[in-house]
Amino acid sequence: MDVLFFIEVSLAGLGSGALLSLTALAFVLIYKATRVINLAVGEVLMLGAYLFFAFASGLGMPAWAAIPLAIAGGGAIGAVVERGMIRPMLGENPIAVFMVTIGLGSVLVGLVELTWGTDPRALPAFMGNAPIFLGEAYVSRKIAIAFVVAALVIALFLALFRFWRGGVALRATATDQAAAYSCGINVPGVFSLAWIIGCGTAAGAGVLLGAIGGISPAMGVFGLSALVVVIVGGLDSVAGALLGGLAIGLIEAWAGTYLGGEYKLVTTFGLLIVALMIRPYGLFGTREIERL
């Protein structure tokens, strides 16, 4: 086995793993605060990429203006969805809320197809193409940039959770809603905030992902891989999303290279089932105790 090649594959895997972590973070944020698995994260990610496409290519904006706008667009979708669909469903069966987000995903895919058509497109280049070498190993510039950005964003989130009032409020809400309420935390506000930040993050991840592989209405499938990450890592654990994302990215890259591209998804899902059988609440998730 060629060691250099193996290292290159692993680096590429870590790069896509970082994107997985970022997307998984969107799941975790929303789940932590509101106990909703938002299956539409993949579709919000796709929408973010298309918004960037519209601003950068359609309106001719420079990347530094288009990216924040795309992220803000994702956040706006999150806010609307939270107020319009999730808030009225509070207290309903979690499966029902889960299904609402599946419906939302379908609506978003339809809207994107209606507006931009079904053909895949390429995002305007804004990262440059010059390859990067780590020692002797070649890394695609886009993947390297995606990795760095994802790492920075995740670090920022970790810092925010630790030190920012909003982050602390979010953790308090996740731990005990009623207690958080009685301490004067605006719980509905935290719900909205979590959805806005979660969907904004997903939209940002969409821009990065689109820059690497082009955009198409089928991009939302990436959300399924990210879902595997959060299940393996534990639905309410930021660290789990982080490590799970990197691990799944690596394993997917290895499986894709050494077994063949068709083994990518099946390895991921096989891993998921194994993880579920060993630790049903995820590697770092909180174990829920059920009482009669």
């Binding site: 599946i102 879902l227 299940i231 068709e262 099946v266 089932i273 049903p280």
Partner: protein
């Protein structure tokens, strides 16, 4: 006005049809279904057969999700198992088609039990995701088990033969599929008059209490998976005889979502709901097609809009029903019935 139905025995209370109007309407429905091919044209017969297949599968999913409370997003994958079983049996061995259909159900039930195994450890959303995983793994098997499934190019299925005549046109298929589906629905309705069905409902309502009451979760959860996949397998078998070609792409993941959406729209945990939901969700896209046909003189590219609009309407129906009418169409039917019962005293 109907005041109430007095019942004098447990038998009467457990009966499927309790009132005279119910019996009359069921009779009308049966006669209507039997005579329908005389008035329907080929297009509507095609739709009727397709609806029958979807009703069978949705009823199966309703047993699992609506009555047992185990959410599954793998129903289409189980249908695919059934379809492949039928295709392989028909091509390789040429056994009679009714036997093939039962075999399809049996194989799917077997796979269903295996997929259901995680349900003992995980539940709710985690289980739903485990079934997603299982369906992707099955898809992988269909693509890569070349010797049996012929990979991506799929298998073409010879027509079903019954008493020496091949069933090729939609009238013949209608008279085969609709009775099978009717029997399956009847079986599902009867299931919930037995100990097994009631155990399912107990598990849905609170599985820990059910276990305390002496219901073996292991047995009944797996049994629910088996029954539900049996229905899916049979429906998949009919699907194979109907479209006559089975490929891995015939049963996409979104088809599983379709079934879950159908029982949500119809009403989870009612037999009527599974039927209404499957009919509704199958026919709405067709209605959209008519709308597009009408609009096409006004809108130049109406045809290209059809597919995205269908996707949007599909999602909007799921959201709309869950937010505004969580009990589904079955509840609307109940409300209508109540209206006529109470009329003219209550509006």
């Amino acid at each position: 006005m109907l005041i109430g139905t007095a019942k004098h025995s447990y038998r009467a209370d457990e009966a499927l049809l309790t009132t005279r109007p119910q019996r009359i309407w069921m009779g009308v429905l049966a006669v209507g279904l039997a005579l329908a091919p005389l008035v329907l044209d080929n297009y509507w017969l095609y739709l009727a057969c397709f609806v029958a297949i979807n009703v069978a599968s949705a009823t199966g999913l309703n047993i699992l999700t609506g009555f047992t409370g185990l959410v599954s997003l793998g129903q289409a994958a189980f249908m695919a198992v059934g379809a492949y079983t039928v295709a392989v049996l028909e091509i390789r061995i040429g056994t009679p088609f009714l036997l093939n259909l039962v075999a399809a159900g049996a194989v799917a039930a077997l796979i269903g039990v295996v997929v259901g195994l995680p349900s003992l450890r995980v539940k709710g959303l985690y289980l739903a995701i485990a079934t997603i995983a299982a369906s992707f793994i099955l898809h992988f098997v269909f693509v890569n088990w070349q010797t049996v499934t012929n990979g991506n190019s799929g298998l073409s299925v010879p027509p079903a033969t019954f008493l020496g005549t091949p069933l090729t046109d939609y009238v013949q298929l209608y008279y085969v599929f609709v009775p099978i589906t009717a029997l399956m629905v009847l079986g599902a309705a009867n299931l919930f008059r037995t100990r097994i069905g009631r155990a399912f409902i107990a598990i849905r309502d609170r599985d820990i209490s059910a276990e305390v009451l002496g219901i073996s979760l292991l047995r009944y959860k797996l049994m629910s998976f088996a029954v539900s996949s049996f229905y899916a397998g049979l429906a998949g078998g009919m699907w194979a005889y109907f479209f006559r070609v089975v490929t891995p792409e015939s049963f996409p993941f979104v088809y599983s979502i379709f079934f879950l959406a159908a029982i949500i729209v119809g009403g989870m945990g009612t037999i009527l709901g599974g039927i209404l939901g499957a009919v509704f969700m199958t026919l709405v896209p067709e209605l959209l097609r008519f709308v597009v046909d009408i609009l096409s003189p006004v809108l130049p590219n109406a045809g290209t809009l059809l597919s995205p609009v269908r996707t949007i309407v599909f999602g909007a129906l799921i959201i709309g029903f869950l937010v505004f009418e969580p009990k589904g169409l079955a509840e609307i039917v109940q409300r209508l019935r109540r209206f006529f019962h109470l009329w003219p005293f209550k509006k």
